[in-house]
Every structure is written in C-alpha cells, then in structure tokens.
Symmetry: C2
Subunit: 478 residues, 2 copies
Amino acid sequence: MKHIKIIDLLNNTKTLQEVTAKGWVRTFRNNQFIALNDGSTIHNIQCVVDFENTSDDILKRITTGAAICVKGTLVESQGAGQKVEIQVTSLEILGDSDAEKFPMQPKRHSLEFLRENAHLRVRTNVFGAIMRVRSVLSFAVHQYFQQKGFVYVNTPIITGSDAEGAGEMFQVTALPLDGSAPKNEDGSINYKEDFFGKQTNLTVSGQLEGETFAMALGQIYTFGPTFRAENSNTSRHLAEFWMIEPEVAFNDLADNMDLAEDFIKYVIKYAVDNCADDLKFLDERFAQEEKQKPQAERSEMTLLEKLNFVLENNFKRVSYTEAIDILKDSTPNKKKKFQYLIEEWGADLQSEHERFLVEKHFKCPVILFDYPAKIKAFYMRLNEDGKTVRAMDILFPGIGEIVGGSQREERYDVLVEKMKALGIDEEELWWYLDTRRFGSAVHSGFGLGFERLVLFVTGMTNIRDVIPFPRTPQNAEF
Amino acid sequence: MKHIKIIDLLNNTKTLQEVTAKGWVRTFRNNQFIALNDGSTIHNIQCVVDFENTSDDILKRITTGAAICVKGTLVESQGAGQKVEIQVTSLEILGDSDAEKFPMQPKRHSLEFLRENAHLRVRTNVFGAIMRVRSVLSFAVHQYFQQKGFVYVNTPIITGSDAEGAGEMFQVTALPLDGSAPKNEDGSINYKEDFFGKQTNLTVSGQLEGETFAMALGQIYTFGPTFRAENSNTSRHLAEFWMIEPEVAFNDLADNMDLAEDFIKYVIKYAVDNCADDLKFLDERFAQEEKQKPQAERSEMTLLEKLNFVLENNFKRVSYTEAIDILKDSTPNKKKKFQYLIEEWGADLQSEHERFLVEKHFKCPVILFDYPAKIKAFYMRLNEDGKTVRAMDILFPGIGEIVGGSQREERYDVLVEKMKALGIDEEELWWYLDTRRFGSAVHSGFGLGFERLVLFVTGMTNIRDVIPFPRTPQNAEF
C-alpha cells in the first residue's frame, strides 16, 4: 500500500481506513505515542503503538530521528491537539537513529549550533517552517511576474564584465594559483589561456544583461544567485545570495516604485495565505524571542501583525532631500547619538539613519528616491536638476534596505559622459551601450535581495538562518 | 494615457477606441505601414501612418529597431494577417536606430552571427520566441513541483565539496593567481587565507545537499545553475547551464521513473498549451530547416508532432542488459558503423548508441535502467545482483540524455565501502553520510538539464541558442 503524506492524513476526514505513513520520529512518549513528521507540514501525526504486542527490540529503536513506516487505522484522536491519529498495527524501522549520537535532540538548540549542522537543522520545526516559507515565497515571485507577462531571464553567473561596480567579486578560473599560470611578457596573467579566454568573475548583478532583454521583450525578471566577496561578517550579509531583478521598458521611476510595492505586497500576501501553519508557528517563536528582550526593545507588533501592516499600508515615499531634512533635525542627530552625523545634503545614508526613518520616524516601509548622483551608480537617470538621479531604495523595519532600483539613464551621450567621468571602460560595455544606440527608451528596474525578504516574513534575525547552506567569510561547509 | 501591451491590443475586440502603444519598429513599408513589436508576443501590430500629414523628418526616423510611441485609433484591419491595427494620429520617436548600423537587419542572419550579438538577437522573432518558451517552461517546472508539495531548495553554488565527481570544476577564489597567494610550508596554496578558509569550486550538482533536505522535508527540488569546466566545444554542452534536481524520500527507482516521465510530460504540455503562437512560429521554422536537409536526414515529424508524440506515448523502459543485447545484434554494430563497437556487457554507452536505440530502434523516448555499477556514480543503490545499480537515464530523440537519475544507496555500510573503493574522502562527506547514520531510508532523484529540454521543445539544434548568454570554452562575452 502506497504511503500517504502526513499533511494529507491530517486533512483527512475519512477515518477508520487503513493507511500507511512514513516519516521520521520526532518524539516517542510512554512507549506508546510517536510524533511522526515527514516534512510535508509542521504538524506531526500521532501514531499510537500497541506496546504490549510490540517487541522490546522494536520499541527501543523508536528513537528521535529514526525513519519508520507505520501501517494502521486512521481514527479520530481522543487526545488534545490533533483531530486524527493512527492506531498502529505494524511498524517497521527503515533507518535507525542512535539516540546518543543524533545531534538534533528534542530540545532547544542554539542557532549557532544549528548552522554548524545545516544538513540536519532542517529536521527541526523552525527550519522546516523557514524552508517551506522560503519555497512558497519563491514560487510567489515567479507567479507574480508570469501572470503579468514578464519573461524570466537567466542572466549569466560567470561574467567577463566587471564594470558594474556593485561590489567586490570572486574570480572564477581553471588556472592554477601556485604561480605556474601562463603569463604575459609584462608578468601579468595571460588570461587567454584560461578557460574562457579572459578573466572571469561571479556576477554581482544581472541588471545590465537584464536591461538588454527588457529592451527587446519589454518586461523581464531575473531570479538567481549573486555574489559579493566582501568581508562582511554581519547578520545581514551573505557572500552568496539570491536576487530578484525585474526590468521594464517604458517604465519611469514612479512606475518602478508602484511595481516594487505591488510586488512585495503580493508575495507577502501569498505567503500569509499559503503558509498559515508555518507562519503561525514562526509567529509564536517570534513572540517568545521578543519576551527575552528588555521591554524597551520589544517589537510593538507580532510577526503576523507586521506582515499585515505591510499589506494594509502604503509605503511612504520620501525624497532623499526631505529625508536629510528630517535626519538633520532629528533628536539622535542633535544629541550626537548617530555614529555618522548628518551635516549636509549629499551625505550617504548609513544603516542607523535608514532605521531611524523607518522604525522611529515613519514607522512603516519607506521608499526613498531622487538620491544625489554622486553616491549612486553610473547607470541611473540624471534628473533635470543635474545633481540627483532617479534612484529609489525601499527600507523595511528591522531589515533596512530590501530593494534598490532606479530609472536607467537612457540617453547615450549622458551615459557615456558619466562612464568617462568614472573611468568605466566603454569598450568593455559596448553591448550595454548598444541598448542606447539602437531604439533606446525610458526603462526602470530594481533588485530585491530574496533572503532579506525571507528574513522579514519569517521573523528571523540572522540572514544565515534563511538560506539552506550559508556562505560567509571562512565558511563554505557542505 | 498609459500604453497598452501589444498582446493585449491584438486580443482586443473593442475597436474605435483611442490607444497608445510603445515598442520597436520591425519593418516600415511604403512610408505607411509600421510593424511594431514590444516583446509581449511574437506578433507585431500594424500601425498605419498618415504619411501625408507626417513630416519627412519623422518618417525618415521610422527605421528598423527604433523605439517609438504611437497614439491612434484601434480599428478593424482591412489587410490580411491581423484583425486589428492602429490608425496613427501621433507618433513620437523615443530612440533612434541608425539603419546603416543596426546589426539586426530585417533579413535572415546566421545563428553564429546572432550568438555574437546575444544582447540584440532577442529582438528577432526566433530568439524572442525561444526566450518566451524558456520562461514558460521554467514556470511549468516550479508549478509542477509546488502543486505536488515539493519544497524548492537553493543548494549552494560555491561549494567546498569536490567529491561528487560529476565533472571538472571551476575554482572560485579571492586570492591572486600570479604566484603571490599565501603558501603552506610544503609549497601548496594556503587556502586558510582564501575567502572561505578552504578551497572552493562552482557546483556541478546540488544532489548531495538536496538529499539532506529530502531526508527532512520529504520531497524537494532544486532549479539553479551548475557548471562544468570541460573543454567540450559541442552543440550539446555548456560550461554554465541550469539543472533541475528533484529528490524524494521513500521513492524507489520505479517511483523515480514515474515521476520523471510525468514531470517531463507536464512541462511540455504546459508549453504546448501556453506558448501556442511561439511554438507555431518555431514549428514553421523547424519545417524550413528540415527542408534544407537531404531527404534521408529529415525528421519524420514536425516539431509540434514531436511534442505531441512525447505527450501521447509511454516512455519505453529498457534495462541496460536488454539494451546491450539489442545493440550487439544491431546492423551498425555488425557492419562496424559504430565508432565504438559494442562487444560485451559492461560497456559504457556512447551518444551514437543512445541515438540508435531512441531514433532507429524504439523511435520514442527511452528510459534505460539498471546500469553496471562500474560505470555509474558511487551514491547509486547497488542491486541484489551485486553488479548493477538502480540508475536510470532518459534518452530523447535528437537530444540524447535529458535525464540522469537513480535510487540512492541508503545503506551506510555499503555506501562507505563504495566510497573507500573509489578513494572518496569520508571525512569530507561527513554530512552526507549523516543522512545514512540518522534515519536513513530509500530515496531517489534525478537531474534534468534544462537547456536540453528547451532545445527539444523549441526544435533548435545548438544548445547555445536556448540560453540568454552562453558560456563555452573561450567565450564569456557580455
């Protein structure tokens, strides 16, 4: 008899049928009650063992982590906490789990310990929930864009272009590192002998390639891994993370903000609607975590309230210039509590300033726009004032920047001038410039760091806990 | 007035309304008829210009590739080939395209030329169609698995594990290549000083990490980029390609074959149902290409017939042993037409043998299973005969291997013995072995090379033409 997934058993109302279930033992109480989980849901099914008619040898092997197959009758449960349970008629141990050695004991482990056991942590309630929510969120991303007619584009991971300047890059090579790589006469590495015939790196963004596709297909999005070789050992940075980058021909900055806000609300709504059980569990976990904090630092809202707050409120749109005025006049600035004091227009905003705006001042998601050209990337559309660009960042409470985007500079001459001023090689970006040479048009796009979204939706606080196998400085285990 | 996408204009039955459209000029005939495309569909909308009341200066700038905005009345078309057209009342040039310089002329270009212009080729009918079909196929992949409750897992791209042995790997490093990288006393590179504190590579497969998640979440799938540093300059290989790898706890090899066949049929059906216009175009293109071939080499079926054939027929399941018998007795083997003659059981099958089985003998997709252990990977489940493993490959006409999978060796002792025999470091794969130490169970999975699927569905013949920016030896442009 084919086994039935536990999520389907729990939703089953046809009791008194013979069923088979397979899964892993979470707990075994009183030599009688197995809590069995197969990953299909956060809920376990209770399997009641007839211990008087089960050999001691088998009973001893029903340990936390063991894989088992049970056959029995699905009956209404007499106990609290579940509607149905399985009265076991036969039980087979598929794979033992030595109770002394299995690292995932039925107790609370530190997140640090669990990170070191990333291959097993997903067998816990919290990581099972996070990974299911992450999966549903990623599907929501695809569904949102596909329903709107966007074309999914896989921009290259290995890139010969290093001009974007979004961050430090990892080098990709098939050459040896020991000094024996072929060299040019001037002593530099002869990359013509490398696999791709040139120096290559891991991409920091698919935007530039994405733009070329938007200027043909109209609406496109990427969703793939991106990389930063920055030595940032923080709870907000990963060396390898997944990014979503839509790009739309004929969209201006206002359209871009509308798209980003609508998109974020859609995917959060989708998770709220489709991950109710997991989010309920994570909501309770969030509440427990908050209780550990001093009163003053506790969140004013529960996790689910935070999610609904985002869904129900417009993101506050504030120009950089307004934001600077607010920050200059703010108490932490006047009292010199900011590490970086805001003194004049043009200052780059630090995390502390973004958090003040979002968490203290506006108390809602904020879209900052029209930044000084000097602190933003070369490809952003220069405003008529000649000093600001049509950039926008979306800031979220507790997360900081979750989206960075802009209307792109569509004017060939202005773009080339900007590249020259910044020393960006025109020859290398010949293909990017072609989009402005042939049929250029207003277009806009943004990048959303997927893990920051998962962080927000799950209420976790360290980005290493929302990706299966985090890559950070000094860590590429598994 | 907000512009309307061309796909929506063409499907509109409410004529005599004022509309705005934006897009790129494909052709401009008789100073009057613009074929306008915005990438939302393969079809252009005809825009009829009132040339007597339009300045020569504007008319001259309506060139192939130019971006324009037209306003006008949507009317029933008098001409053949379209139901509606736009009677233009005003026309704005958004971005010029110098007719002398724009590489994508309205004529047939060689695929080789188009590859060198991968940033512009997507503005042609054929590449627009391919990229839309690719996008829809990728969504079908996610929808199939999500509907069945699979969890999408992003396995790591940068990996510290090189034990899978699926192919040559690219190295990822932040160290210099010129010989100045820090060294150990024995002269070897001191990778402790590299970004991750160890030697790292680009993944060749997410399977091993995926297995650890399947043993917790039950049903998982990956869909991400994978890499091979193999110097294969063929029409079937890429250095960077996208792979789909489902892994299911409690599935045996028969379940695995069922899943793979059902999955492939679902995604092809989804494309047939949702890409009708693009596939009709590609079907016509395929027919034209076939006409160029000598009669004997032409496909017996049109592209759409090939797709429907896969949907309507069971994949033929044949054991390796049966396949060897068929090949040994085959005419090309007897007449020594095979480059590698099949002499005895145990031989590895080459592309020529796979093609013979699929295209000449069975004339349908074939699933070969139960391969000799010696020619397959260490993690495959050894059969009771002690010499074959529960492997399966799916072979497609014109494509060759599209899926490779297996039931995995779930027995700790057998797996360790196999690793020892092959010199695979147990210490390095401690986490993989943990899945067999704690709650091991029968499980199976497979890998499907996404580009080979796109190749089959679009009827293209070179894998470089079904990925936006192909990476191959000596080529990482863009």
